[in-house]
C-alpha cells in the first residue's frame, strides 16, 4: 500500500508542476471572456464572444499587443452568481490578464471579488447595476455601458422637463435590472416637487395577463407609467392598457428598446418612449465593426455587441499604453488615456464608468424607434 501511495504522490507532484509550467511558459496576452453562453440568457452573452474574436483577430493581424499575440479564453457563467465564481476562478487559474465580462450584474458582482483578489481588471459591456461602480468596492471594475441610475435620471428628466407630467406610476418586474431602475426613478421623482409618484409596484414576470395591475394604474389616475424591465412584459402591459382604451404614456428602458417589442405590441407600440444607448450608427468604427460581423458570421450583431467591441479595444489598448500587464499600470491607463472605439472616444472615471457613453430617449414612430434630440 505504501508503495502505491508513493507512486500516486509522484504522479500528483508531476501533475502540479505541469499545471504550473503551462501557466508560466505562455507569453501571450490572455483575454478572458465570460458571460452566459448557454441557457435562456445566452443571446445576451454570445455577441460578446464574437466581438472579442473580431477585435483580437484584427489586433493579432497587426502584430498583437506589446508584440505578443492575444489569446482568448472563453468561459460560460449562465448568468448565475455561483457558476460565475467557478468561471472566474477557472479564468484566474488559467492566468488571464484582463477579463471582458461578465454580462449580468449579479454574476459580475459574484465574480468581481475573485478577480479583485488576483489583481485582474474586468470590463463589462452590459452590467448596469449602479453599485458596481458607485459602491467603491470594486476598483478593478470598468464598463462601457451607462449605469441604471443614469437611465432612470434620463427617464425622469424627460417626463418632467419635456412631457411636464404631474402624476406618474412606477412599475417594475421585480428583477435585478428592472427593480433597480425603478427604485432610482422613484427616488428621483420623490425628490422633485413637480410631480408625485401615485403608484409603485412590481409585477410578476411571465404571468399570463396584467389586467389587475393595469386596472389599478387606471384607478390611480397616473398620466404616465415608468416601467423598469424587459420587453416581453412591457408589450403585454402596453397592449392591455391600450385595449382598455387608456392613453397613459409609457416610458421605459433599454430592455424595451428592442425591435421585438414593436413586433409583438404592433400598433399598440406607437408612441412608447424608451431609453437606449446613444445612436452611434454614424460612427465609422461602429459601421466597420458591424460590417466585420456581417462578413464573419453572416448576420447582424446581437445585444451589447458594440459595447463589447469597445471594451475589448479599451482593455487591449490600456495594456499597450501601460507597456505591461501590471494591474496598477493597466488600470491607470484605462483612467487616463483616451481611446477611439465604436462608441466614440472614451476614457474611464475613477469609479470605472465610461466617460462619453450615455443614453438617449427614443420613441416608437411608424413602427420603428426614433432617437429624440
Amino acid at each position: 500500500m505504501k508503495n502505491r501511495l508513493g507512486q500516486f504522490l509522484i504522479v500528483a507532484v508531476v501533475f502540479a508542476f505541469m499545471a504550473a509550467g503551462t501557466a508560466m511558459a505562455a507569453d501571450t496576452i490572455k483575454l478572458g471572456v465570460a458571460g452566459p453562453h448557454s441557457g435562456d440568457l445566452a443571446s445576451y452573452g454570445i455577441p460578446t464572444i464574437k466581438a472579442a474574436e473580431l477585435v483580437v483577430k484584427d489586433i493579432n493581424a497587426k502584430g498583437g499587443v506589446l508584440g505578443r499575440q492575444v489569446e482568448l479564453l472563453v468561459e460560460d457563467d449562465v448568468c448565475k452568481p455561483e457558476v460565475a465564481t467557478n468561471t472566474a476562478t477557472k479564468l484566474v487559474s488559467e492566468g488571464v490578464h484582463v477579463v471582458l465580462g461578465h454580462i449580468c450584474s449579479g454574476a459580475t458582482k459574484a465574480a468581481l471579488g475573485i478577480y479583485k483578489d488576483s489583481n485582474i481588471p474586468v470590463m463589462s459591456p452590459s452590467a448596469t447595476n449602479p453599485a458596481l461602480t458607485q459602491s467603491g468596492d470594486y476598483p478593478n471594475f470598468f464598463r462601457t455601458i451607462a449605469s441604471d441610475d443614469a437611465q432612470a435620471r434620463l427617464e425622469v428628466d424627460f417626463a418632467l422637463d419635456v412631457l411636464k407630467l404631474k402624476k406618474i406610476a412606477v412599475l417594475h418586474d421585480k428583477g435585478d435590472y428592472g427593480k433597480g431602475l425603478a427604485e432610482f426613478a422613484k427616488a428621483f421623482l420623490e425628490k422633485d416637487p413637480r410631480a408625485e409618484v401615485v403608484f409603485y409596484e412590481g409585477i410578476t414576470p411571465g404571468a399570463v395577463d396584467y389586467s389587475a395591475v393595469v386596472q389599478k394604474i387606471k384607478k390611480s389616475g397616473a398620466e404616465a407609467v415608468i416601467f423598469g424591465g424587459y420587453h416581453p412584459e412591457a408589450s403585454k402591459i402596453v397592449t392591455q392598457m391600450r385595449k382598455k382604451r387608456m392613453d397613459t404614456i409609457f416610458i421605459s428602458d433599454d430592455g424595451v428598446k428592442d425591435d421585438t417589442f414593436i413586433k409583438v405590441a404592433q400598433k399598440y407600440a406607437e408612441g412608447v418612449y424608451a431609453t437606449g444607448p446613444k445612436d452611434v450608427s454614424s460612427n465609422p468604427m461602429a459601421i466597420a465593426a458591424n460590417e466585420a460581423h456581417k462578413k464573419a458570421y453572416g448576420a447582424d450583431p446581437g445585444a451589447f455587441y458594440l459595447n463589447a467591441y469597445s471594451a475589448a479595444i479599451a482593455l487591449l489598448n490600456a495594456i499597450e499604453q501601460a507597456g505591461s500587464t501590471d494591474y496598477a499600470a493597466v488600470t491607470n491607463a484605462l483612467r487616463t488615456k483616451d481611446v477611439e472605439t465604436p462608441l466614440g472616444k472614451i476614457r474611464f472615471d475613477d469609479r470605472g464608468d465610461a466617460i462619453g457613453v450615455g443614453f438617449s430617449m427614443y420613441q416608437v414612430k411608424d413602427g420603428a424607434y426614433v432617437e429624440l434630440k
Binding site: 443571446s43 410578476t204 399570463v208 389587475a212 395591475v213 386596472q215 384607478k219 416581453p232 385595449k243 405590441a265
Partner: protein
C-alpha cells in the same frame, strides 16, 4: 363597484386561462396519479407548432380562417402525439416503480422538451399573431372584456363540459374511471389499461394544445419557457380545486385567478404570488384534499 367588477372580470379571464391548462393536468393525474410535470411543455409545443404552421401558410398566402383551423388542428395533433410518445417513453416503463421515480422522469422530460425547442428554434420571444378577430358585437364592452377573453371563457366551459361528459357517460370514460380506481382490478375485468392511459394522455395533451394556441394568441408572444411557468400555476390551481376532479380544476383555477386579481387590485402585486401560495396552504389546512376533492381516508 365598477373597479370591483373589472377586477372580477380580470380574475375570471386569468382563471379560465389557468383552467385550460389545469384541465389536462388534473385529468392525467386523476387517472394515472402522476404529476405530469411536462404537461406545461406539451402546451408550449402546441403553441410552437401552431406558430410554425401559421408562418408557413401565411407565407403561402392562404386564407385567414383556413390558416386558423389548420394551425389549431396541427397543434392538437402534434401535442397529442408528443403526449402519447412521452407517456410511452418516460412513464410507461415506470408504472410499477416508486412514484417519486416517475416524478423525476417527468422533470427530466420537461427539461428535455424545453431545451429541445430552445435548440431547434430560439431562446427569444417570438411574436404570436392574434388569431381571434375583434368581434363587431363586442365593441361596446371591448374595454372591459375583449373578444379573445370571451373566446377563452367559452372554450374553457366547452372543454370542461366535454371532458365531464366523456368521463361520465362514454365507454372509454367508464374504463378511465375504473383504471383510476384500481388499475390491477380494471385489467382483470378486461379493461385495456395501456390503451386507457394512452387515450388519457392524448386527450389531456389535446386540451393543452387548444390552451396553447388560444393563450399564445391572447398574450401575443411565446418562448420555450412559457410552459413551465404556466404549468406550475395550473398545478397549483388543480391542487386547489382537488386534483383529479374536472370541475375542481376549473373552480380552483377561477379561485386562483380571482385571488390574484383582487389581491393585486386592493393590496399589492408585489406579493401577489406569495399570497396565492399562502391562500393555497390555508385552503389545504382546512380541506386537505382541495375544494372539491374528496378526502379519501385510507381504508384501514
Amino acid at each position: 363597484m365598477d373597479y370591483f367588477f373589472e377586477l372580477f372580470l380580470g380574475g375570471l379571464t386569468r382563471g379560465s386561462i389557468y383552467a385550460l391548462i389545469a384541465l389536462g393536468y388534473t385529468m392525467v393525474y386523476g387517472i394515472v396519479q402522476l404529476i405530469n410535470f411536462a404537461h406545461g411543455e406539451i402546451y408550449m409545443i402546441g403553441a410552437f407548432t401552431a406558430l410554425i404552421v401559421i408562418s408557413v401558410l401565411t407565407m403561402l398566402g392562404w386564407n385567414q380562417i383556413a390558416i386558423l383551423l389548420i394551425a389549431a388542428g396541427a397543434a392538437v395533433v402534434y401535442s397529442s402525439a408528443y403526449g402519447y410518445t412521452m407517456e410511452k417513453i418516460a412513464y410507461k416503463p415506470l408504472r410499477q416503480a416508486p412514484r417519486l421515480s416517475a416524478l423525476i422522469s417527468a422533470i427530466g422530460m420537461s427539461l428535455f422538451l424545453q431545451n429541445y425547442v430552445l435548440l431547434a428554434q430560439t431562446s427569444d420571444f417570438l411574436p404570436f399573431p392574434a388569431l381571434i378577430p375583434d368581434f363587431e358585437f363586442m365593441e361596446p364592452i371591448a374595454h372591459i372584456i375583449g373578444s379573445p377573453e370571451l373566446v377563452i371563457l367559452i372554450t374553457t366551459t366547452i372543454v370542461m363540459v366535454l371532458l365531464t361528459f366523456l368521463i361520465k357517460f362514454t365507454k372509454i370514460g367508464k374504463a378511465m374511471r375504473a383504471t383510476a380506481q384500481d388499475r390491477d382490478m380494471a385489467q382483470l375485468v378486461g379493461v385495456d389499461v395501456n390503451r386507457v392511459i394512452s387515450v388519457t394522455f392524448i386527450i389531456g395533451s389535446a386540451t393543452a394544445a387548444i390552451g396553447g394556441v388560444l393563450i399564445a394568441s391572447h398574450i401575443g408572444q411565446i418562448n420555450f419557457y412559457i410552459g413551465f411557468i404556466a404549468g406550475i400555476k395550473a398545478f397549483v390551481a388543480a391542487v386547489l380545486g382537488g386534483i383529479g376532479s374536472i370541475p375542481g380544476a376549473v373552480l380552483g383555477s377561477l379561485v386562483l385567478g380571482w385571488t390574484e386579481s383582487f389581491f393585486t387590485g386592493y393590496i399589492s402585486s408585489d406579493y401577489e404570488d406569495v399570497f396565492a401560495f399562502v391562500f393555497l396552504v390555508l385552503i389545504l389546512i382546512f380541506r386537505p384534499a382541495g375544494i372539491l376533492g374528496r378526502s379519501t381516508s385510507e381504508k384501514v
